[in-house]
């Protein structure tokens, strides 16, 4: 680190510029991570946080099975078969549909989930909905000035608000919860979309084969939310590109830096520095640059994201989750720098004497 730290101090302008680039890229990556997490929660938290291990999708006889809440339908025979399967834990019908909630003079798109009280998010106030009732999320209640006992219109049905729940959402719309029969009246569907299951010791594969259903884990069921996979994969692809750009930018900087230092490296070798010492020194320099840039960028990204999320932007980033992009940036940056500084090993100390072979 002897030469590395003094180089940084001497060429502070160049390193500050490069550190600023790393900071900006990390900010962008951290912001994208937060946005990805926020959009994921906004699109899926109603399913992702269900107290169920598996989701069962079905299709009417003779149609293709797919993991899709929009296209899935559980018929009465399928429901009965699952509920009466030997060893099964719990089976709860789950209906999901998009609708519109109108309260007094406000209206908003909502996702309507019809299921039993066991799958309801924690209640903030009131109680679980009975027939003709609905529970709304706290944020929706605040925004639309809804309280327990309010009358709201969901779709074409007028319902009484029985309780206020913790916030959940589905398909980027706040979720409201009701019973499965009420949900059928709101959505116009005649059967639940899926089943939320604790499989217990039941042979779910055999049930799937026998009843033309498909069981996936709760996490796997998120792919059944319209647009979820495409949205997430697009954001992750941008993150991937940013990681590659970061590695290339850091690699390019250290390539130019190493070339510029060619004579100094030759002199250092001539006075006894080994290639290993010089490579370690250069990588330590890269590490200082990357840690400085990424930690600053992550801090600014988290702070900026927190400010933006106050304005309604879906953004979810914690200290633990921001560690992932920071570590990835540092690791990829070091890989880029490592490729760049390996040319140190080929510098001939004889060039320090101005000789040519």
């Amino acid at each position: 680190m002897f030469v590395a730290l003094r180089d940084i101090r001497f060429a502070r302008g160049r390193f500050a510029l490069m550190g600023a680039v790393v900071t900006l890229i990390t900010m962008l990556v951290a912001f994208l991570y937060g946005l990805t997490g926020g959009l994921a929660a906004d699109a899926s938290s109603a399913v992702a946080r269900l107290p169920a291990a598996s989701i069962v999708f079905g299709s009417p006889q003779g149609t293709a099975l797919e993991v899709s809440f929009s296209n899935s339908s559980i018929g009465p025979a399928q429901l009965t078969a699952w509920q009466s399967a030997p060893g099964i834990g719990t089976v709860a019908p789950l209906g999901i549909a998009m609708s519109r909630l109108t309260s007094q003079d406000t209206a908003a798109s909502v996702s309507v989930l019809g299921t039993g009280a066991a799958l309801l998010p924690p209640l903030v106030s009131g109680r679980a909905p009975a027939e003709g009732q609905v529970a709304v999320g706290a944020k929706t209640a605040r925004a639309d000035r809804i309280t327990v006992g309010s009358r709201v219109t969901v779709g074409a049905q007028t319902l009484t608000v029985s309780g206020i729940t913790a916030d959940r959402s589905y398909g980027h719309a706040a979720s409201v919860w009701t019973t499965e029969p009420t949900w059928q009246r709101v959505s116009g569907a005649t059967a639940p979309s899926a089943l939320a299951v604790q499989p217990g010791s039941a042979d779910t594969a055999a049930l799937d084969r026998a009843r033309n259903t498909r069981t996936v884990s709760r996490g796997g069921a998120l792919a059944g939310i319209d647009g979820y996979s495409a949205e997430q994969s697009s954001l992750r692809m941008i993150q991937g590109f940013l990681f590659v750009v970061s590695a290339l930018v850091v690699g390019a900087f250290f390539t130019v830096w190493t070339v510029q230092r060619g004579t100094d490296i030759a002199v250092l070798k001539a006075v006894g520095a080994s290639s290993g010492y010089l490579v370690r020194d250069a990588l330590a320099q890269a590490l200082v640059l990357l840690l400085g840039g990424t930690l600053t960028g992550a801090a600014v990204g988290v702070a900026g994201g927190a400010l933006l999320s106050g304005g309604g932007l879906p953004f979810a980033l914690s200290g633990a989750t921001v560690a992932v992009p920071v570590l990835a940036m540092v690791a990829l940056g070091l890989a880029g720098a490592g490729l760049a500084v390996r040319r140190i090993t080929s510098v001939d100390p004889l060039t320090a004497l101005g000789a040519s072979r």
Binding site: V3, D264, V271, G272, L350, A352, L353, A355
Partner: protein
């Protein structure tokens, strides 16, 4: 000023039949054999391309002979790998270059400390010795200056301090006054004489007969890669 404090062997450098070819019939060295004893100041002179710089590079462990052996303090350089040669240069050799070859990003003091850092010396010890050397060389007040802010003579003094930092058995100088004005050149020559008088073994490659006769106790003249003539010198004032 101190030099190597151990008990160096009487012969510090021994070349035996050293040959260096660069492909075809081009021979930089053609069977050179010589010995340099502890405390000697040897000047190597000759026209450009005669092989004197190649000789210096070989002894510094910066280049390898095509055939023949080079031993420094009984260590056969041909048996050392690249890392071994780096360690050899670090611990046994001090080098002074014509164009100083200081690291521009380091202050004068750090350029000198650097040599000790490579050997793993403690930062405190290294700094103390570097300050002693800069003081003895009369440039202690310039310790925080970067090379670009120093005169040629000052830069060469910093380079000498760096070369002496690890108490080398052998100090190699490649045209040490070649880039200096006459006054600075004389100062560097005085410095080399002082070092030799306290026991530092010197090998100086130069075109300058004045430098050779002032600083060296023995002159080796090269021609076409061979030793053409060898003579003892009486130092001039």
């Amino acid at each position: 000023m101190t030099t190597d404090e151990g008990s160096p062997p009487r012969v510090v450098v021994r070349l035996n039949g050293v040959r260096k070819e660069y492909g075809g019939d081009a021979r930089a060295l053609d069977g050179v054999s010589l010995e340099i004893r502890a405390g000697e100041a040897v000047a190597v002179m000759g026209p450009s391309g005669c092989g004197k710089s190649t000789l210096l590079n070989m002894v510094a462990g910066l280049d390898r002979p095509t055939s023949g052996t080079i031993e420094v303090r009984d260590q056969d350089l041909g048996k050392l790998n690249e890392t071994g040669l780096a360690l050899y240069r670090r611990h046994h050799i001090g080098m002074i270059f014509q164009f100083f070859n200081l690291i521009d990003d380091l202050s004068a003091l750090d350029n000198v400390v650097l040599a000790a850092q490579l050997t793993g010396s403690s930062a405190k010890q290294a700094r103390r010795r570097a300050l002693e050397l800069l003081d003895e060389l009369g440039i202690a007040d310039r310790k925080n200056m970067y090379p670009a802010a120093l005169s040629g003579g000052e830069r060469q003094r910093v380079a000498v301090a760096r070369a002496l930092m690890n108490r080398p058995a052998l100090l190699l100088a490649d045209e040490p006054t070649g880039a200096l004005d006459s006054r600075s050149g004389e100062q560097v020559m005085d410095l080399l004489i002082d070092l030799n008088q306290i026991g530092q073994t010197l090998l100086i490659v130069t075109h300058d007969p004045h430098l050779a006769t002032r600083c060296a106790s023995r002159l080796i003249e090269f021609a076409d890669g061979r030793i053409a003539r060898e003579s003892s010198l009486e130092r001039t004032a």
